[in-house]
Symmetry: C2
Subunit: 134 residues, 2 copies
DNA sequence: TTCGTTGCAAATGTTTTGCACCTGA
DNA sequence: TCAGGTGCAAAACATTTGCAACGAA
């Protein structure tokens, strides 16, 4: 379908960086970190490669509720928790809830092929430090 | 907490319009329809009132995957289906899946207070008309 | 050489905001 | 009267894109 990809230092570095993190950074955060090791990289390149890596299925885009998209190099299916106090996005280790797809199909005449779920609340750290607002 | 609200024709009209629709229109769509009956209303006013109505709990903002937020005057808890072909957002009549909140809490040390779920796939109409792309 | 990739900057699209004027209570 | 609401335009913000130069195959 698409064109044949060539190797790119920028793309490799972005993937490596993302794989080293579990906090689902935004494009902007990724950009800032990439500039520390590649001072000339541009934001456009970061976005282009994040998009490419998503198409390749090597990373995932998390459309969190806030304006910014976040990216995740953990491919295996899992759900996310978003702390409403500090904004942190945390991987959840929970049993599969794939069956909700079947539940959604029950009284519905379209075809349900996938779903996304985000859980919200207060993370462990923010529970311990009720003072902190961010 | 917030200031005392005054009545506003614009806000009333926006709420009335939203209550007449089940297709979860975006701010822009709402703006265009409002202009038909209030030619001078501004987009800023639409956004401000949508935000206000959300805070009041009279409407809900649906952060769908695409860039634009959509708004829903149906308050009672329900889930949404998004057609990947035509982009339509449809209310699902399905059994409650609230228990996934408890499942998420199992191995997690934070406090899970709510969740959002979106189902994706192909709607009934798009299944019947595979040709149509939008 | 070829064609995907990059850096840069400009453009896009959505949402927010500052401000002077308007309006409901 | 007066605090909240409005219209307008500018700003903010994330993301995309056009283009000439670069670099991998």
């Amino acid at each position: 379908m698409g064109p044949v990809l060539k190797k790119s230092k920028q793309r490799d570095a972005i993937l490596t960086f993302l794989e080293s993190r579990t906090d689902h950074p935004s494009a902007d955060i990724i950009y800032m970190h990439m500039r520390e090791i590649m001072p000339n990289i541009s934001l456009g390149t970061v976005y282009r490669n994040l998009g490419l890596l998503c198409e390749l299925g090597q990373i995932t885009k998390l459309p969190c509720d806030d304006k910014v998209d976040r990216y995740d190099a953990r491919i295996s299916p899992h759900n996310h928790f978003i702390c409403e106090k500090c904004g942190k996005v945390i991987d959840l280790e929970m049993d599969s809830i794939d069956f909700i797809k079947d539940m959604a199909s029950q009284n519905f005449h379209g075809q349900v092929s996938r779903y996304t779920t985000f859980f919200y609340g207060t993370c462990e750290e923010c529970l311990k430090n009720p003072k902190l607002e961010s």
